[in-house]
Amino acid sequence: MFPSKNPNVRALWWVGAVAAALAVYGCPAPPEGGAEDASQAILLPVPDDPTVSFTVWFQVGSQNDPAGKEGLASLTGALLSDGATENNSYEDILKKLYPLASGYGVRVDKEMTTVIGRTHRDNLDAYFGLLADAYLRPAFNEDDFNRLKSDQLNYLEKTLRYSSDEDLGKEALSEAIFEGTPYRHPIEGTVAGLQAITVDDVKQFYAAHYTRENATVALGGGYSDELLQQFEGTLGELPSGSPTAAPDFEPAAIEGRHAVLVAKENADASISFGFPVSVRRGERDFYALWIANSWLGEHRNSSSHLYKVIREVRGMNYGDYSYIEAFPQGGRRQMPPAGVARNHQIFQVWIRTLPNAQAHFALRAAMRELVDLVDNGMTEEEFDLTRSFLSKYYLHFAETTQARLGYAVDDGFYGVDGGGHLARFGEMMASITREEVNAAIKKYLQYDNMKIAIITGEAESMAAALESDTPSPMTYGSPKSDEVLEEDKVIESYPLGIASVRTVSVEEIFGK
């Protein structure tokens, strides 16, 4: 219903569902299926849930975009979610879904594509055929193609470049780290790549990747056995093909600290920095590192240490956080999303928008805290509090059946067996020790080699300051304690030793 401004999450979402949500009724069993057999249905029965949630997972993503046609996976997904099918024009689809207050959407990420839907059990008959048509019988009309291609281009050229510096900073960081790899470009593509895509390209991409070998169904809520059979049966209607090969690559090793500045007139500073990290959901080290990361920068939470240092004590910006796995659209979500499972992850720090004059100081402050964590680990007190926090906070990651279903699909991606990631999360919080956390910090985190991305309206002076490690004193509009001022003296000349700074214009970034 609301064509998302991020074409990545195109949807005909139902009214009132800002976060697709379903109930936790009673005590449903953990999801079945998943890791053992990628094509086996993933099930999450919740008998007294009056709604049914559907997911179809295709093992394809933007990493499969052909060179020169960056954005193809995303555009193909868009045509499935916001285009006509062989049985109905787009307008007719909207008309038929309207009284059901239901919709479906397609999320395309780097490595996975998920078709997501949900409806009330009263409306299953009317709804199911429309959903199945979307992924089985897309029409790929020229009109729909033109509309959605132009929307996606507008997103890159106008929205990403000009309306959200925080997203832009994160994309710039990703591009810098994954340069030369299939992860480099935004999921929505590049301007040149999108411009080059034809409707035949989309048809070919669909034929190659939306095959039965590449697909897994997931069903949750108050569904019947008949519906399950019907839903599983749709996979048989997909063409047969070979499973999509995941490109084999590693991001280039980073030596030293390197900055890229995105010059954008009048922009305040938005900062992201990070480096590749190789932990994976399901592994014990992942949860150990999650504890460390939560302490350092729990997403949009005042428990984040970086938040305390930069926002709470110094009032410099709206927040400061860190991540060990991808968290797209962080400004619009509280809990980690499902459907963005990836084999290549980044550890990254996100410093929210602040005045250019304070950017250098903030970067130093954040870097210093990362160094401190890596060198000294977590204290007993810090560990106890963070572990206690996570032991219950994770209950909110997926409060609804649909969210839990998404995580169950991710379990299939990551090969997390048993009760899946969410169950394991709870178990791990109960058993991981501080020693393990500090060992994980030493093993996976470091601070010498990384990329730094900054959106700024003062690229020239900022580049000069970064290159020379010029001191960056901080001044405040209100009094601060002596303790803070003493610490500031250390921060303001904290050496960053940045090896190189390059500048790109906002008008050129993601051009090709």
Binding site: Y98, D143, N146, S303, G315, Y318, R352, T353, P355
Partner: protein, 449 residues
């Protein structure tokens, strides 16, 4: 983003008919599927409890019926929002770091927000932590006490939020529209406030005490708790923790907006690139769930500009001149705005799109919609509402806005009952009443190049 928020408000506002509602209380059918336990304490605090099965989760909402609307003194815009930030800065019993450590320790998902008519503080918690949360929440609402330097520091974070927001063109244009549409009423500014007032905030420590004393009083607050709770024992706990809270609410001296007599038009500058945004606001009425005309206006918005409307097909799908188009009536305590919003793909087509909107409105003032379409909308509202009541947080979120604006939970079922009665003729009447050109403000935002 503003657009999604506006749509959420539309959908949150509207209820639908049909289906089998829960047992009626006064003969009228209910749509809200859960039992509501409501009580008003002697000090005026409204307490709404909604027990629901939830796998051990509880949503705890403190709804202060104060927002941008209450900022009537010059130079004080944005203060309700700033104050929302200050509510996390501690009391004597629970200084900020103690409060934060406590909510951290129990793994609470906690946040707050401010809008035209309310400031909402919410925590999503495990049921076992209810008493702990009630202890600290009741404490900070009664005993907030922060030092001056903390106050001044927090102003910086608020400014940071403003910086983040202003790069969004939808924020920019909505700010400009209301400033133009409202000459007297405090809805003329957003909850964020004007930049010059935000800059001044560090100097308003004394005023912040006045603000707290005036508005953070039990008569002005609704306490809403949903989820895995026992109503009786929870109500008893509430009386224990909140019973001593002293009344003393001073209503704001809000100047009513005089009637608009002529169309207004503005161009809104924006420093970056953006496709043109057209934002047209008509003068609406205050939230009136029992008024068929008011509810009809809300339904009209989706019929005329929603996804199955003729203009959507024409401009979005066929001609591909706009990315999207939508309309909704805001849920406000005082007469607010009815917004029509669209983003145009070709800057040369701005006037054309506005003329198309005018055409749709002119036609809507001539003839009533088809009964079948109205029925479909009612079905949509019903299922949309029901599907969104799945977690304690989602239930609380939907109820909160109505509670803030109306102060009572009965409006939920009233709204449903009224929507059920709306006829095509009511829609026609609403189109005629609310959509005259002299009642509107037309804003066009164009990017820098």
């Amino acid at each position: 983003m503003k657009r999604s928020a506006a749509l959420l408000l539309l959908t949150a506002l509207l209820l639908a008919s049909g289906g089998v509602p829960a047992a009626a209380q006064d003969g009228a059918a209910r749509i809200f599927p859960y039992e509501v336990h409501a009580e008003k304490l002697d000090n005026g605090l409204q307490v709404i409890l909604v027990p629901m099965s939830s796998g051990g989760l509880v949503a705890y909402w403190s709804i202060v019926r104060t927002g941008a609307r209450d900022e009537y003194e010059p130079g004080r815009t944005g203060f309700a929002h700033f104050f929302e930030h200050m509510m996390f800065r501690g009391t004597e019993a629970y200084p900020a770091d103690v409060y934060n450590d406590l909510t951290t320790k129990i793994g609470a998902d906690t946040n707050a927000f401010t809008s035209d008519d309310m400031t909402g503080y919410h925590l999503s918690i495990a049921a076992e932590d209810l008493e702990t949360v009630m202890t600290i929440e009741s404490d900070r609402f009664q005993n907030l006490a922060y030092p001056k330097d903390m106050f001044q520091t927090e102003a910086g974070a608020v400014y940071g939020e403003y910086r983040k927001n202003r790069m969004n063109p939808f924020f920019t244009v909505s700010e400009a529209v209301r400033k133009e549409a409202f000459e007297k009423h405090t809805y003329g500014h957003t909850a964020m406030g004007y930049e010059e007032d935000i800059k001044e905030m560090p100097n308003l420590f004394d005023y912040s005490q006045t603000f707290f004393s005036r508005y953070y009083r039990p008569e002005n607050v609704v306490l809403l708790i949903t989820g895995d709770i026992d109503a009786a024992s929870t109500m008893e706990m509430v009386r224990r923790f909140y019973g001593e809270w002293k009344a003393g609410y001073e209503p704001p001296k809000v100047t009513p907006e005089p009637p608009q007599t002529a169309e207004k038009r503005i161009e809104v500058p924006y420093p970056g690139r953006s496709l043109p945004i057209v934002w047209i606001s008509y003068k609406g009425d205050a939230f009136s769930p029992q008024d068929r005309g008011y509810v009809a206006a809300s339904l009209f918005c989706d019929l005329a500009f929603g996804q199955t409307s003729e203009i959507h097909k024409k401009l979005v799908i066929d001609e591909q001149v706009v990315e999207f188009i939508q309309a909704n009536q805001n849920t406000n305590r005082d007469p607010g705005l009815i917004d029509i919003i669209t983003r145009i793909k070709d800057p040369a087509k701005v006037d054309y799109v506005i003329s198309e909107i005018d055409r749709v409105l002119a036609e809507a003032r001539e003839s009533a919609p088809e009964a079948a379409r109205l029925q479909e909308l009612k079905s949509r509202l019903k299922y949309g509402f029901l599907m969104g009541l799945d977690t304690p947080s989602n239930v609380a979120q939907r109820l909160a806005r109505w509670l803030a604006v109306a102060g009572t939970h009965e409006v939920v079922d009233q709204l449903y009952a009224t929507a059920d009665m709306v006829t095509p003729e009511d829609i026609l009447a609403a189109a005629r009443k609310y959509f005259a050109a002299d009642q509107r403000t037309v804003a066009v935002l164009k990017g820098a190049s």
